[in-house]
C-alpha cells in the first residue's frame, strides 16, 4: 500500500512536468491548428538557458524561470511572425514539415554551441525532500508541480480574463470572423506562439533541474505533449492539466504495478494509450464532442 501511494505521488509529480510541457503545445494546436514538432526543441532551449544562468551567473533555476520565459516569448514571437505565419493556411503536413525543419535547425544549433555533453542544474537542495508517513516527496519535483500549476492558471487567466486572451480565442474559433472584426491575425498568431514558447521555456527550466540535458533531449517531450493533449482533449487548459497528471500516473503505475513490465515499457504504454484514446474517444477525456 505504501509503495502504491509512493508511486501515485511520484506519478503526479512527473505529471506536473508533462502539464508544463503540454500547455504551450496545446495552445498552438488549438488556436493556430499547428502541431508544433519544434516544441521539444523550445523546451530544451529553455533548459539550456536555465543551465547557462545557473552555471555562469549562479542564478537559482526557479528564479531564472521568468528570465527564460521572457527570452522564449521574444524568440517565439519572431519565429511565428517571420516564418510560420507564411504557411498557416497551407495543408497540415506543410506546417508539420516546417516545424520539423525548425526543430532540426534549433537542435543542431544547440549541438554547435553546447556540444552533446550532458549538462545538469544542481542547486543545493536538489536530491533532498521530505517524508510524510514513509512517502518521500522531493522538493524539486514538488516545486516543478507547483510551477506547472501556476503556469496553467496563468495561461487560463490570460485566455479567459484579458482582451488579448479574448482575441486569441476568437482567432481560434473562427479565423475569418476574427479578421473581420478587426483583429490583427499576424500579431495574434505570433502572440499565441510566443506565449506557448514561453511556457515551453519554463517547462525546460523545470526539466533541467530533474534530468541531465542534451540538445537532442527534447524530442521525447514533443511526443509526450501529443499524448497529454490527446488524452486530455484539445482546447482547454484544464483538460491539459488533467491529461498531464493522468499520463504521469498511468506511466508510473504501468511500469511498477503491472507484473512483467519494466521501465523499458514506458513508451510502449504511453503510445498504446495514445492510439487507443484517439480511436475510442478522439475528443479526449475532458473534451467536448465536436
Amino acid at each position: 500500500m505504501q509503495l502504491f501511494v509512493q508511486q501515485v505521488v511520484l506519478g503526479l509529480l512527473i505529471g506536473g512536468v508533462y502539464v508544463a510541457v503540454a500547455i504551450g503545445f496545446s495552445l498552438v494546436w488549438g488556436i493556430l491548428n499547428i502541431v508544433n514538432l519544434a516544441h521539444g526543441a523550445l523546451v530544451i532551449v529553455g533548459a539550456y538557458l536555465t543551465w547557462l544562468l545557473f552555471a555562469r551567473a549562479r542564478i537559482d533555476p526557479f528564479a531564472a524561470l521568468p528570465i527564460v520565459a521572457v527570452a522564449l516569448f521574444a524568440f517565439g514571437y519572431a519565429l511565428q511572425r517571420a516564418l510560420i505565419n507564411r504557411v498557416i493556411r497551407a495543408p497540415l503536413f506543410f506546417t508539420l514539415l516546417l516545424t520539423f525543419g525548425v526543430n532540426l535547425v534549433i537542435v543542431n544549433a544547440l549541438l554547435v554551441i553546447f556540444k552533446s555533453d550532458f549538462r545538469s542544474v544542481t542547486p543545493s537542495y536538489s536530491g533532498s525532500g521530505f517524508g510524510v508517513a514513509g512517502v518521500q516527496v522531493p522538493y524539486i519535483r514538488l516545486g516543478a508541480l507547483g510551477v506547472a500549476v501556476a503556469v496553467a492558471a496563468g495561461v487560463g487567466g490570460l485566455l479567459n480574463r484579458t482582451r488579448t486572451g479574448a482575441a486569441i480565442q476568437a482567432v481560434g474559433a473562427d479565423r475569418e470572423a476574427a479578421r473581420l472584426v478587426g483583429i490583427d491575425l499576424r500579431h495574434v498568431y505570433a502572440l499565441t506562439f510566443a506565449v506557448a514558447a514561453a511556457c515551453a521555456g519554463v517547462a525546460g527550466g523545470l526539466i533541467s533541474t530533474i534530468q541531465a540535458i542534451t540538445p537532442t533531449a527534447g524530442e521525447p517531450y514533443t511526443l509526450q505533449a501529443f499524448v497529454v493533449v490527446v488524452l486530455g482533449g484539445l482546447g482547454r487548459v484544464g483538460a491539459t492539466v488533467v491529461g498531464g497528471l493522468v499520463f504521469g500516473l498511468v506511466e508510473t503505475l504501468g511500469q511498477t504495478m503491472v507484473p512483467g513490465l519494466g521501465a523499458g515499457w514506458a513508451n510502449a504504454i504511453a503510445f498504446a494509450i495514445l492510439v487507443l484514446v484517439l480511436i475510442v474517444r478522439p475528443q479526449g477525456l475532458m473534451g467536448r464532442v465536436a
Binding site: A90, G101, V105, N108, L111, Y189, E219, L223, N267, V275
Partner: protein
C-alpha cells in the same frame, strides 16, 4: 473555345490541375532521364566486380557509391509508397516507418538460424505481407480519424510498435537481430532495391491510372462526396494503406538483409519516417515522379553532406532550412514548380505566399 482544349482520353490525369502544352514533353523528358539513370545505375556497378577488375576495365563506381545508390533506391520505394496515402488519398501518415520496421524484422526473423530459418527468397516474399496485414488491421480504426488526429495516431502507432519490438526477446530485444552477412552481396542488394523501386513506381502508375486511383483522389478532394457517388471509402483507404505498407515493408526487409543488422532504432527510425514524407512533398505529393525525384535529390544531398561527420551538424541545419524554404516557396513540389505552369519568378513566389500565409 473548348476545341482548343486537349481531347478527353485515358491519358488525362486528375492529379495536377493546370494543363500546359509542355507538360507531356516534360514528362517524357523525365521518363527518359530516369530510364537513362536507371540503366547507368544498373550497369556502372558491374565495373566494380573482380571480373571487370581483372579485365582492366575502368572502375566507374566504388563500394561506397553502390551503398549510396542502394539507399537512394530504398527511399524511392518509401517516398512513392507514402505518396499513395499522403499524396493521393490525402491522409498524412506520420507512421509509415512502422511498415519499414515490420518488414525488416519479418525478414530478420525469417532468415535467423535460431528462429524461422527460411531461405532468403522466402524471407523477402514475407516482408511485404506482414506489414500489409498489419496495415489492414490498424487501418480500419486509424483511417476513421482525419487531419492531425490521423497524423498523430499513425506516429503513435509507429512508436508503440517500435517500443514493443524492443521489449520482446524473440525479436532480439534492445540488442536487435543479425541476419547472416552475405559475402560481396553489394550488387545483389543494389539490384534488388532498384527492382523494388521500379516496382513501387510501376504500382503507383497503375493505381494513378485506375478506377482505384481516381477513387483515392476523390476521397482526398472530398470524402463525403466520394462516398455518395459510390466510392467504398473505407475499403479504398485501407487498400491504399495496405499497398503502401507492402512496398515499404519490402524496402525494410531488403534493408535488414543488406545491412545484416536491425534494431528498434534502425527499423523504426523517426528520421526515416520524416525523410520519406519530405521527399514526397519536396518532389510533389500526388504526382507519379515527384516522390522519385524528391528521394533522389534529397537522399543524395543527405548522403553527401550528413555522411561526413565533420559537417554533419551543419548539414542538418542546412536540411532544416531547406525544409523551411521548400514548404514556404515551393509548396506544390518540384514537379509542379517546373512543369505545372508556375515559373521560377518573383510573381510566383509572391502568389504562393499569398495563398498560404496571413
Amino acid at each position: 473555345m473548348s476545341a482548343a482544349m486537349p481531347p478527353p482520353s485515358s491519358e488525362t490525369i486528375l492529379v495536377e490541375r493546370p494543363r500546359l502544352l509542355d507538360r507531356r514533353r516534360l514528362r517524357r523528358l523525365l521518363v527518359l532521364l530516369l530510364v537513362l539513370g536507371a540503366v547507368l545505375v544498373l550497369l556502372a556497378p558491374l565495373t566494380a566486380t573482380d571480373q571487370a577488375d581483372s579485365l582492366g576495365a575502368p572502375q566507374l563506381v566504388d563500394r561506397s557509391q553502390i551503398r549510396i545508390l542502394t539507399t537512394v533506391a530504398m527511399f524511392v520505394v518509401m517516398a512513392s509508397a507514402w505518396n499513395l496515402v499522403g499524396g493521393l488519398t490525402g491522409y498524412s501518415s506520420f507512421g509509415n516507418v512502422a511498415f519499414f520496421g515490420l518488414g525488416a524484422y519479418t525478414c530478420a526473423v525469417a532468415v535467423d538460424a535460431h528462429r524461422l530459418h527460411l531461405p532468403m527468397a522466402a524471407a523477402i516474399a514475407l516482408a511485404p505481407l506482414v506489414p500489409a496485414a498489419f496495415a489492414a488491421l490498424v487501418g480500419l480504426p486509424l483511417l476513421r480519424l482525419r487531419g492531425h488526429y490521423f497524423a498523430i495516431a499513425t506516429l503513435g502507432t509507429a512508436v508503440a510498435v517500435g517500443e514493443v519490438v524492443k521489449n520482446v526477446d524473440y525479436l532480439g530485444g534492445a540488442t536487435g537481430l543479425f541476419p547472416p552477412i552475405l559475402h560481396r552481396a553489394d550488387l545483389l542488394f543494389l539490384y534488388l532495391m532498384v527492382g523494388a523501386a521500379l516496382l513501387a513506381v510501376l504500382v503507383s502508375r497503375l493505381i494513378l491510372r485506375s478506377r482505384f486511383g481516381y477513387g483515392l483522389i476523390a476521397i482526398r478532394e472530398n470524402e463525403e462526396a466520394a462516398g455518395v457517388i459510390g466510392v467504398n471509402t473505407t475499403m479504398y483507404k485501407v487498400g491504399a494503406f495496405a499497398v503502401a505498407a507492402a512496398l515499404t515493408g519490402l524496402a525494410g526487409g531488403l534493408f535488414a538483409l543488406w545491412n545484416s543488422f536491425i534494431n528498434q532504432e534502425l527499423g523504426f527510425s523517426l528520421d526515416f519516417n520524416i525523410q520519406m514524407i519530405l521527399m514526397a512533398v519536396l518532389g510533389g505529393a500526388g504526382t507519379l515522379f515527384g516522390p522519385v525525384l524528391g528521394a533522389i535529390v534529397l537522399e543524395l544531398l543527405i548522403q553527401n553532406l550528413a555522411g561526413r561527420s565533420d559537417v554533419a551538424v551543419y548539414a542538418q541545419i542546412g536540411l532544416g532550412l531547406l525544409l523551411a524554404v521548400t514548404v514556404i516557396f515551393v509548396p506544390r513540389g518540384i514537379v509542379a514548380f517546373f512543369g505545372g505552369g508556375s515559373r521560377l519568378s518573383v510573381a510566383h513566389l509572391r502568389r504562393s505566399l499569398r495563398e498560404t500565409g496571413v
